[in-house]
C-alpha cells in the first residue's frame, strides 16, 4: 500500500514508519499541515494517516479541504484527545476512522486493513459467507454446513462484523466500538466472553475453526488455517 502519514511528532512518526515498512508498505511523511495537504492533493495514496494536531494546518482542516475538492481517499485520524466530541467532529469532518494515541501497532495495522478494503457505502451485502458458513441478514439466519445456528442478537452482530471484515484482523477495540458501541475500555471480559460463546456455536463440532485468535492483535474469521 502507498500511505501518507501527516504527523509532527518525530518519535511517533518513526514508530509508525518503521512498523509500516516492516509490513511492506511505502509511506510518505509530512511534518506539517501544508506539506501534508500538498502531498495528499498531488499524489495518489491508498490511505492517509492524519494527526489531528499538526502545525500550520490542523488535521481536520486538511481532511475537510480534501473532501471539499472531491477527494475520497480513506482517512484515519490519530489523536491524543480521548474525547468523544473530537471523535465525532473528526468523523463528521470526513475522517473514516479514529485512533487514540497511544495505540498498539497491531491496532493501527488492523484499522488500516479495514479501511483499505472497506466496501463502497451503497454496496452493502445482505448475504455474507465464509467457507461453509452462511449468514442471511434479511432473514436474520445463520447456517453452517446447512445446519441452522441460533445466535443471540449481540452474537449475531459480532459474527456479522467478523464476516464483513473476513480475512482481516479485527481488534478488541474495533469490536467494542462497532458491535457494542462502547467507546470506553471495559474492565471485564465482555469481548472475550461473547467471542467464546460465538465460537462454541459456530466452530464447535466442525472440523475446521473459522474464528481464529491472532495473538497480541485480535480476532480473524477466514477460510484457511492460521499460520
Amino acid at each position: 500500500m502507498h500511505l501518507l502519514l501527516i504527523e509532527d511528532d518525530q518519535r511517533t512518526a518513526d514508530f509508525i514508519l518503521r512498523g509500516l515498512k516492516e509490513h511492506g508498505h511505502v509511506t510518505d511523511h509530512a511534518l506539517g499541515g501544508k506539506d501534508g495537504l500538498y502531498l495528499a492533493t498531488t499524489q495518489d495514496y491508498d490511505i492517509l494517516i492524519v494527526d489531528r494536531m499538526v502545525p500550520e494546518l490542523d488535521g481536520l482542516t486538511i481532511v475537510k479541504t480534501l473532501r471539499a475538492s472531491g477527494n475520497r481517499v480513506p482517512v484515519l485520524f490519530l489523536t491524543t484527545m480521548a474525547s468523544i466530541d473530537d471523535r465525532v467532529e473528526g468523523l463528521e469532518g470526513g475522517g473514516d476512522d479514529y485512533l487514540v494515541k497511544p495505540f498498539a501497532f497491531a491496532e493501527l495495522l488492523a484499522r488500516l486493513g479495514a479501511l483499505m478494503r472497506r466496501p463502497p457505502l451503497n454496496d452493502v451485502k445482505t448475504l455474507l459467507s465464509v467457507a461453509d458458513l452462511r449468514m442471511d441478514l434479511l432473514k436474520r439466519e445463520v447456517k453452517r454446513a446447512g445446519k441452522r445456528i441460533e445466535l443471540q442478537p449481540q452474537e449475531f452482530r459480532l459474527l456479522e462484523y467478523l464476516l464483513r471484515n473476513q480475512g482481516r484482523v479485527v481488534t478488541r477495540t474495533m469490536l467494542l466500538e462497532n458491535v457494542w458501541e462502547f467507546h470506553f475500555d471495559p474492565q471485564t471480559s465482555v469481548v472475550e466472553t461473547h467471542m467464546s460463546r460465538l465460537r462454541a456455536k459456530v466452530d464447535r463440532g466442525f472440523d475446521r475453526e473459522l474464528i481464529q485468535t491472532v495473538r497480541g492483535a485480535g480476532y480473524c474469521i477466514r477460510n484457511e488455517q492460521a499460520d
Partner: protein
Amino acid sequence: MNRLINTSSFRLAAVYAGVSLIAFLTLFATAYLITTRALDRQIRFGIEAEYASLIAAAKSGTSSELIKELSERVRLPVGASFFYFLSDENGHKLAGNLNNIHRVAGWQVLQNLRATGETAELGGDDDHRLTAYGGYLPDKSFLLVGDDSYRMYDAQEAIIESFALASGLVLALAILPGLFMGQRFLGRIDSINRATDAIIKGQLKERIPTMGRRGDELDQLSRNLNRMLDSNQGLMESLRQVSSSIAHDLRTPLSRLRQNLEDVRLSVARREDIECAIEQAIVESDTLLSTFSALLRISQVESKSRRAGFHTVYLSGIFEKIAEAYGPVVEEKGKAFTSDIALGQRFVGDAELLTQMLANLVENAIKHTPTNAAISISLQESDEGLVGVVADNGAGIPEAERKRVFERFYRLDRSRTTPGSGLGLPLVAAVADLHGISVRLHDNCPGLRVRLHFPRCAPD
C-alpha cells in the same frame, strides 16, 4: 475627585441636572417673553389713553390750550405722571418735561433722556427707557406722550432673579446626592477591591463584605462573587486532593514498572524471560494509560460541555444493551444475572456516557462480589419518575463510606487487592451530575443497591 466624577451615580445625577436645567430655561424664556409683552401692551394702552385725553382737553385743538393743560399735568407727583413734549411747527419746545425730542409720528422707544428740572426726575444715572407716542396736531405742532418702562424692568428682573435662584437650587439638589451616592459607591467598590486583592495575594478565605439585609445590585453582585469564590475554593481543594491522590496512586504502578525493567537488566535472562518482562511492562503501562484516560474522561464530563450534545435517547435500549453485553460475563464468572427492564423509556442525555455509567456500575458489581452472587439490573417507571437499579448480594459498602466511594481513587480496604483504579464510581457520579440524575447507594441486605433516579425533564 476625578474618580468621583467618573462614578455612574454622579454621571446620572449630572444628566438629570442638565435636563432639568434645560426645562427650567425653556420655562424661563416663555415666562419672560409673555410678561414683557403683556406689560408693554399695558404701557402703550396708558399712553394712548393719555394722548387721547390731552387731545380731548384741548378742545380747539391748538397748542396754546395744550400748553396750559400740560403745565398742570407735569406737576403731578413722581410715578403718577407721564412725560410730555410739545413743540411748534419748527421743532421749538413749547411745553412739557422732556427736551430735544426728534419729531417722529407713531411709536418709538427713547433712551438716554433727561427730563427738565422742574418735573419728575428720570432717575439719576439709570439708563431709563421711555416708550412714547407722538403725533402732529392740526396746527402742525407736535405732541409726544411717553411713559417710563421701569415696571417692565422690575418685572423682568424679578423673573430673572427667581429663575436664577431656582436653577441654582435644582442643580445643587441634583448633583449633591449624586456626589454623595458616588462617594458611598466608591467606598463599597474599594472594599470589593481590597477583598479581591487579598484573594489574589493568596488569602483564599477572604470574602467581599455585604451590606446585609438590603439587597441592592452591589450586594447581589458581592454575594454572587462570594458564591463564585466559595465554589472556586471548593474546586481548588478538590483539585489539590485529586493531584495528591494521582501522585500517590500512580507511584505504585510506576515503581513496579521500573522494578521489572531493572530486574530484566540485572539478570542474565533468556530471550523468553525478556519477552515476558516486556509484555508485563506493556500491560503495566497500559494500566497507567487507562487510569489517565479515565481521569481525563471524568474531568471532561465534569466540565459539562457535553450538555450541548444532549438529545433524546432510548434509555430502555441502553439498559438492554448493557444487560445483553454483561449477562454472559456475569454467568461466566459463576454468578446469577437477572434483568427487568421497562420498555419504551426515553431520556434526554448523552447515550455514550449513560452507557458507560451503567457499564461501570455493573462491572463494579461483577468485580466486588464473590462467586455464586446474584446481580440484577432493572429500569422501572415509578411515581417519582424513572428509576434504574443495579443491585447485588455481595458484601456491600459500609454506610460511613458510601459518600467517599465517589471520590477519585478512593477504595475500600477490602477491595485493595482486586484490580481497579478507584475511578469507576467517580465517573458514575460525574455522568449522573451532568444529567441531573440522583445516585443513591442503599443496603441491599445483604449487598449493594445502586438506585438511579432519572428526572422527568432535562436538566437546565
